[in-house]
Structure formats: structure tokens, C-alpha cells
């Protein structure tokens, strides 16, 4: 029993450290948003011929060292390219164009190519479409839990379920903040996965408790 308490205490301390560290990092450094959600600069180049993303990546690695770069093909013929990075200076743009001209024997002129500013996507805009579905699903799930596990105490079950689900998400977000995993297209699927695993864990625990209660009653 003493051992159990100790284990529990270690887990609680560990969770508390993760959450505090996560909140501190989020408040001081903010979350590390994926490039597609940040304020960026975009340059579009018309090559007029087939090309490989890997080759363009090689060029951007040389011209924009240590910078995250997003490379996408444009239009159905896939003969134009969009290069997005946190910042692209005029000098970098010229170098980029020169290297592309060299590689693909094109005659692009850096002065004719505009650098477009792409605004960031607000975090709340990313999350907004998911809030209502999660609320609806959670409310129904909590109602089900209250009915199914009423022998364990409806209010206790509901509070436990809601609390652990929220805690699991806070831990996930803290880990994302600590590890600097970019907040982007994989974040929501990760949230859903953690939510599902939490629910499976909770129902397994409650079913076990219910079975134990039955045994004790007998």
C-alpha cells in the first residue's frame, strides 16, 4: 500500500513537472507552429518543365540554410514551384533564381518575381472547427458513463472521466510545447488519438471496478 502511494506520488510529481514546464515554455517561448501556420514569405517560379522536389530542396538548403522551407508544385502541369520560408530576402531570392536558372537552364529574372507575404493562421482558427464536435461527443459520452457506471457513483464517474480526459490533453499539449514538436496538421489527430486511448483506459478501469464490486456483493 505504501509502495503504491509512492508510485502514485512519483507519477503525480512527474505529471506536475511536465505541466508546469509546458505552461512555462508556452508562456515564454510560445508554441512552435508549423511553417504553414506562421507568417511567411513565398516565391513562385515558373520552370516550364518537369522537376523533382528533392532537387529544389537541395537548392533551398544552399540558399536558405537552417531555415524551414515548404516546397509545393503548382497547377495541373506541375511545372511551377512555390517556395515558402519564414523569410526570403531579395538577395536570397536572387540566389534562388540564379541557381534554378543554372540547374534547369531557364531564364528567370529575380526582378520579375514577386515575394509574397503570407499571413499566419491563428491558433483559434485551427482549433475552432473541432470544438463543437468534441463538446457534443464528450457530453454524450459523459451521460453514457453516468448511466453505465452508476453503481460506481454517477457524479464520481463523470468527474473522473472529464478530469482525466482534460488532464491527458494538457499533458499532451505540454509535451508538444516541451519537445517543440511543430503544432500543425498532426496535432489534432494526436489529440483525437490520446482522447480515444484515454477513453479505452477509463472504460477498462471502470469495467474492472464494476466486476470487483459484483464479486464483493456475492
Amino acid at each position: 500500500m505504501k509502495n503504491m502511494s509512492k508510485k502514485k506520488l512519483i507519477v503525480i510529481i512527474l505529471i506536475a513537472i511536465i505541466i508546469i514546464a509546458g505552461i512555462t515554455i508556452t508562456l515564454t517561448k510560445g508554441l512552435n507552429y508549423d511553417l504553414r501556420y506562421q507568417d511567411t514569405k513565398r516565391v513562385e517560379l515558373y520552370l516550364g518543365k518537369d522537376f523533382k522536389i528533392a532537387d529544389i530542396k537541395q537548392i533551398t538548403d544552399e540558399v536558405l540554410p537552417d531555415q524551414a522551407v515548404l516546397i509545393q508544385k503548382i497547377e495541373v502541369y506541375e511545372d511551377s514551384i512555390s517556395i515558402i520560408s519564414k523569410d526570403i530576402t531579395d538577395e536570397q531570392k536572387t540566389n534562388l533564381v540564379n541557381k534554378v536558372n543554372e540547374k534547369y537552364e531557364t531564364e528567370l529574372n529575380a526582378d520579375d518575381i514577386a515575394t509574397t507575404t503570407i499571413p499566419h493562421t491563428r491558433g483559434r482558427d485551427i482549433v475552432k472547427p473541432y470544438i463543437l464536435p468534441f463538446i457534443i461527443a464528450t457530453v454524450i459520452i459523459l451521460a453514457y458513463m453516468a448511466v453505465r457506471y452508476h453503481k460506481l457513483g454517477s457524479i464520481k464517474t463523470v468527474l473522473k472521466t472529464a478530469g482525466i480526459c482534460i488532464l491527458a490533453q494538457i499533458i499532451l499539449l505540454s509535451l508538444i510545447a516541451i519537445t517543440r514538436i511543430p503544432v500543425g496538421r498532426l496535432t489534432i489527430p494526436m489529440v483525437i488519438t490520446v482522447y480515444i486511448l484515454t477513453l479505452v483506459g477509463l472504460t477498462t478501469k471502470f469495467e474492472k471496478d464494476l466486476a470487483n464490486n459484483k464479486k464483493e456483493e456475492k
Partner: protein
């Protein structure tokens, strides 16, 4: 006989797996083409139409009279006529300096979002540059994309003005809602009958009052013989009766005249029903009218943009997630599953082998179902596939563990399957609730997750009672 049965089921599973994971290739014009339907990908995985809406810097020309008031119907005036009448020409920007504020930029973005929702756009990204007011829209590429783009940036300025004086009588502020209605019957202008599409505009309390006053003031005089009323066609025809001196109103959307008319009787309902196109039985014509009316209704219902925007960029950008990267994900999943199945075989020997064969069959059927049910696969959908495969692994492992505990007899198999079903599905009821909820959400990444998992869970429920049960029972039979 037992071996033949087992072998037959195994071969069928192998065949289904080949179809699902390799494909069925047929020669078509000197090249081999896979006949198995491909996945339907969401915009995250396929690509997006990127539209840049720039705040208009253009000017508009207005003609003013000697009093400084704007002259109505001045479009057709020549320079000579302007000079003769003592009018002056002025160039003013569509968007005044005072209108270029962050509040207006944000309001424009909000209105655009409302329009996208009203147009049932189920996946988009919207970005606002708060310095310039430029808005970037990322939309899924499909047959509706062009019409969405043409509607979304429309200013949506609604006005009812006095045709003669150009006095503004009603504006967007007076509109409560706008929607599309249908009516059957014959057209008054043609002999054809069928369905008529109406643009229904409902006005606010104040608007209702204004409309009543206007319809009283601009009522048809009995001797004019004017041939229009407010429920007649307005989008296809300009019906101003130039020969009468009767007072008429002009309805304008985005400064474009939609109709000019007077009223038969005062309108006290606060509603205007404007027919769009003529009564028709032709489905294509009807669909065109519905689309036209819906666009107008959406634009009017969501309010007018405080600024005029212009479509500056409109291009299709492919996803940065390439086919190769998706294949890597697929191989990684196959690798993990393969390791899991080897563990099953080691732990449960021959039963484990049957469990593994059954598992492969389910995975193959699952991906085929996703392809043929037209489920849109997003990144969330890929996660849903992984979770479903994990749940299926848990099910098979649980079943085999139960069988390991007891002697492998037909009765025991029945009992083990029954117990596994009960334990497994009771535990995943909350997941089922979530999945069903997600299926009904009109946001593709979520509905993709819901639909993929729905088919996965349904398949687990049906498949094991038939295929896994059969495999184990055949093995147990003497």
C-alpha cells in the same frame, strides 16, 4: 476436408489482400492500369486552390450635379451631355482611406467565413493579413470551387433606390434573412409550367415598415398598364417602363440593377419573393436557377463586405505530402502490423497463425471499403485507420488469449467469441459514440476520422463473427 476448408478461406483472404494492397492491373493503351478504385483524398493530402483576395485599390467614376449630389443613371451619359448639364466627373476610390481599418479587415474575414459555411464548404483555411487586409483562402479543389470563389468575394451590397432620384430607400441593414424557395405553377410570361425558383428576402422589423411605406408610395397607377410586379422575373430582364411617369424603385446588388418596378399593392408581410428564371420542368435549367438564387441568398444573408475585394491570385497548389510519403506511411503501418502478427503466432501457435490470417483479411477488406464507400481520406482518416487496426489487434489478441485458457473445442470457441465481443464492445462504446458524432460533422477532417472508424468498427463486428469464427471452428472440428 478440414484442411481444404482452411486452405480455401486462407486463399480467399490472400486474394482479397492482393486486390487491396497490390491492385488489379489491366492493360490499357500500352500501359498497365490499376482497376481498383483509388482513395479519395482530402485537400491536406491532395492539394488546394489558393485564392488571394486583395483589397481593391481601384477608383470608380461618379457624376455629380451642380449641387454636388450624385446623378442617378449616369452610366450612359457622354462627356458632352455631362458638360451640357453642368455635371462634374469625379474619381473616388471604392475603398476610402477611412474604411481601411483592421476592424473592417476582420469583419470581411468573418463574413467570408460565414459565406463559406453557408455554401456548405466543409474544409478551408482562411488567413488575414492585418496590415494590408489581404485575405488568403485555401479551398478543396472540386467542381464547386470556381463558383465558390466567384461568390465568396462578392461585396454583397444590397440597395433599393428610387429609380429617378437614386435616393437609397433600403440597404443590407434591413435584411433579416435571405433564402431560396420553390413554387409550382405556370409562368405568367410563358405558357410553360413547372417549378419556379424564388429568392426570398425577409426584412427586419424596421425593414418591414420601410417596405410597407415604399410599396405604398411606389404603387402602380391604374392607367399605366405596367406589366411588372415584385414576384416576376428580375434577374433575366430589366423591366423599367420608360414611357410612364410612374414612380418606380430599382433593386441593386453590388451596384448592378436587378430589377426596376412599382408595386401592385402595399406589402405588409415584410417579405419579398423574387422569381429567378422562368417556371421550368427542365432539370438543368432548374439547377442553374437554384444555383443563381442560392448564391444571391448566401451573399445577402451573410451581409455585405465593408470593403471591395479583388481576386488577385487563383492557383492550384499540390500538397507537400507526396505519394511517396504516403507510401512510406503505408509501409510503416504494414511493418508494425507484421511485427504484431509475428508476436501473435509466437504466443498462440496455430491459433495465432489463424488469427494473423484473419487479421490480414480484415485489414484488406477495410481498405477496400474505404475506397469504395467514397470516404474522403484526410490525415485524421489515416490516424483512424491506424487506431482501427490497433483495436482489431486488441480484439484478436483477447480472443486468442481466451482460447489459450481453455481446451480448443467448438463450444469453447463459441463461448470465447461471445465473451470477447461483450468485453470488447462494452469498452469501446464511448469510442462508438464519438465516431457516430464525428460522422455527422460537416468538417472533412473530422467526418473523415468518423467515417473511417465507423466502417472499421462495423467491420470488426461483422468480420470476426463470420470469418475468424469459421477459421477457428474448422480447425477445432475433427
Amino acid at each position: 476436408m478440414k484442411k481444404v476448408k482452411l486452405l480455401t478461406i486462407t486463399l480467399i483472404i490472400v486474394l482479397v489482400a492482393m486486390v487491396a494492397f497490390v491492385g488489379v492491373y489491366v492493360q490499357k493503351q500500352n500501359r498497365m492500369e490499376d482497376e481498383v478504385r483509388d482513395y479519395s483524398y482530402s485537400m491536406d493530402l491532395k492539394g488546394t486552390r489558393n485564392v488571394t483576395l486583395k483589397v481593391s485599390q481601384e477608383n470608380k467614376t461618379i457624376i455629380k450635379d451642380s449641387n454636388g449630389d450624385e446623378v442617378a443613371d449616369s452610366e450612359d451619359l457622354t462627356d458632352e451631355e455631362i458638360a451640357q448639364n453642368g455635371y462634374t466627373k469625379e474619381e473616388i476610390p471604392y475603398n476610402s482611406e477611412e474604411a481601411l481599418t483592421v476592424e473592417n479587415y476582420k469583419k470581411s474575414k468573418e463574413i467570408l467565413e460565414k459565406r463559406l459555411k453557408a455554401m456548405n464548404v466543409q474544409n478551408y483555411v482562411i488567413k488575414l493579413n492585418e496590415q494590408t487586409g489581404d485575405i488568403i483562402l485555401e479551398l478543396a479543389e472540386d467542381e464547386n470551387t470556381d463558383s465558390i470563389i466567384s461568390n465568396v468575394g462578392t461585396a454583397g451590397k444590397f440597395e433599393i433606390v428610387d429609380t429617378q432620384t437614386n435616393e437609397v430607400l433600403m440597404t443590407n441593414k434591413d435584411i433579416k434573412l435571405a433564402n431560396v424557395m420553390y413554387g409550382s405553377g405556370s409562368s405568367t410570361e410563358t405558357t410553360s409550367s413547372g417549378t419556379t425558383v424564388y429568392l426570398n428576402i425577409e426584412f427586419t422589423k424596421e425593414g418591414k415598415q420601410k417596405l410597407e411605406e415604399i410599396s405604398n408610395k411606389y404603387i402602380k397607377s391604374e392607367d399605366t398598364g405596367a406589366d411588372e410586379n415584385t414576384t416576376e422575373n428580375e434577374t433575366s430582364e430589366n423591366t423599367t417602363d420608360e414611357t410612364t411617369s410612374e414612380k418606380t424603385i430599382t433593386m441593386k446588388i453590388d451596384d448592378e440593377e436587378i430589377m426596376s418596378t412599382s408595386f401592385d399593392e402595399p406589402i405588409r408581410t415584410g417579405k419579398l419573393q423574387l422569381s429567378v428564371g422562368r417556371a421550368t420542368t427542365d432539370q438543368d435549367t432548374l439547377q442553374d436557377s437554384i444555383a443563381q438564387a442560392s448564391s444571391m441568398a448566401t451573399v445577402l444573408d451573410t451581409g455585405n463586405l465593408p470593403l471591395k475585394y479583388e481576386v488577385d491570385g487563383n492557383e492550384y497548389v499540390l500538397s507537400d505530402i507526396t505519394e511517396n510519403q504516403l507510401q512510406i506511411v503505408q509501409y510503416a503501418l504494414i511493418g508494425i502490423v507484421a511485427i504484431g502478427l509475428i508476436v501473435l503466432i509466437i504466443r498462440y501457435k496455430s491459433n495465432g497463425l489463424l488469427g494473423a490470417i484473419s487479421y490480414v483479411g480484415l485489414a484488406a477488406l477495410f481498405v477496400l471499403i474505404i475506397r469504395y464507400t467514397n470516404v474522403v481520406l484526410s490525415i485524421e482518416g489515416i490516424f483512424a485507420i491506424a487506431i482501427t487496426l490497433l483495436l482489431n489487434y486488441i480484439f484478436v489478441n483477447k480472443l486468442l488469449a481466451k482460447l489459450k485458457q481453455s481446451e480448443v473445442k467448438k463450444e469453447n470457441i463459441k463461448q470465447a467469441i461471445k465473451e470477447t465481443y461483450k468485453e470488447f464492445f462494452i469498452k469501446i462504446i464511448p469510442i462508438c459514440i464519438m465516431v457516430i458524432t464525428f460522422c455527422f460533422i460537416k468538417w472533412i477532417p473530422i467526418s473523415s476520422f468518423g467515417m473511417v472508424m465507423f466502417w472499421g468498427i462495423a467491420l470488426i463486428a461483422i468480420y470476426h463473427i463470420s470469418v475468424t469464427n469459421s477459421l477457428l471452428r474448422i480447425k477445432a472440428s475433427k
